[in-house]
């Protein structure tokens, strides 16, 4: 069994035009997803929008630089994640494909195990 991170990406423009009904439906769908896949889920959360993100870097002198916003400005932003456990990539894809992601899609990344 392997753990995978399922990252949910949302297109900013699509999200901006969605109304409250869409978001209510989305909440419900995530709830259903969670119930249907309870044995495979190890965690997950929605994230606040990128306007509330803070990024930290070190400048060339090693000094901490704090900036407002996500690490990289992209068209699709990280909206949330799940941690799932699956026997192999096909099983992970089968679960991840059920994650509601109406504004974009998901990335499936294996979590590294250090022996």
């Amino acid at each position: 069994m392997t753990e995978y991170l399922v990252l949910i990406y949302d297109d900013k423009a699509k999200m901006a035009t969605a109304g409250p009904e869409t978001f209510n439906t989305l909440m419900r769908e995530h709830d259903e997803f969670g119930k249907s896949n309870a044995t495979s889920l190890r965690g997950g959360n929605a994230l606040e929008m990128t306007i509330s993100a803070t990024s930290l870097r070190r400048d060339t002198n090693g000094k901490l630089v704090v900036t407002d916003g996500p690490f990289a400005e992209t068209k699709e932003i990280l909206g949330g994640y799940y941690v799932i456990e699956a026997s192999d990539l096909d099983a992970a894809i089968a679960i991840a494909s059920q994650v509601p992601a109406p504004f974009g899609g998901v990335e499936v990344r294996p979590i590294r195990v250090f022996d």
């Binding site: 192999d88 990539l89 894809i93 294996p110």
Partner: protein
Amino acid sequence: MSARVGVDEAIADAYRREWGYVLAATLRVTGDIDLAEECVQDAFGRAVSAWSARGVPDRPGAWLTTVARRRAIDVLRHAASEVRAISKVDDSDEVIIERVSDDRLRLIFTCCHPALTIETQVALALRLLCGLSTEEVARAFLVSESTMAARLTRGKKKIREAHIPYRVPPDVDLPIRLEAVLSAIHLVFTTGHTAPMGTELVRGDLVDSALHLAQMLHELLPDDGEATGLLALIIVTDARRDARVGDDGTMTLLSEQDRSRWDQDAIARGSALVKEALSQAPPGRFALMAAIAAVHAEAPSWPETDWAEILGLYDVLMRVWPSPVVALNRAVAMGFAEGPEAALTLLEELRGDPRLTSYAYLASARADFLRRLGRRSEARDAYREALALQTNEVERTYLDRRLRELVD
């Protein structure tokens, strides 16, 4: 002296024929592709001395498989760290007498997993199933050996780290997964049949590998219409090989080929497979493409080509696989069935399709029909456009000749 030559030939033969079988069977033991490759390489190494001393065995494949699997079991037992398995490790000691067909099928589906890029899928299939060396695969795709080695390494790393399973997909996923396998094999064939770059029109090693893979797939999935169709398509299309390139290395168009140089046995075999593929309703794209190739192959001469039938087949193909390339080929068939103006109308529409902007064959098709209509200056422009996009030397020579014929 001659005994050693016999062994060398047997080894070379075994590389071509047995590599996929032996690797797939060993992979079942190791669960790791790199280790399986090492063990198979090791077995081939031992074969050189063993076969020289004791003669070539009756079943070289069985011999190699037994030795490779035994080595794999040894390595795993002595391994200090855990080998990250991609499937359950099978360490049974049984001597493999019969080939397990499933192994190669598993390997094909693993190599052609959609989570890998198409270039990686094709590279892995050629290396692991056809036994081509990294250098041979590199040469086939006109990249450096180190580039190809890196591509293969990354592919195997992805398989290992993302845990792409070593198995035949369950029935529910099979249609989509099989489509990926067929596309990969078809890409190997088209790359070999009309090489996109370089100085040769045909890369025989790629065509042979595609044929080998298609035959393997057909053997393993005899009831699948599309696997049958792909095999038929490759056999019938490649039957024209000897007529496509003139003795001076120039390209000969289908309309000008000496049909007596076509392989009639291959055409007969291919046509029989086409019938088989079409008997599976509804017909898939490979069955239809094979049928089109068969109609061409059965025409005793260019003027006797049944263009109406070909057009009808393209109409069905467009419904099944509405790609811009199919639309282009259909337009060309329309040109021969109903006249150049009919083709040009369709080809003009296709010029607006962004997916075809760098497709040389759209320009060369327009050029040809414009030439037939005597619209010389437009034809010249179209040939120039085609030359700007065409990267294969043999094709360029042909286009250049046509252009020069119009400049006077």
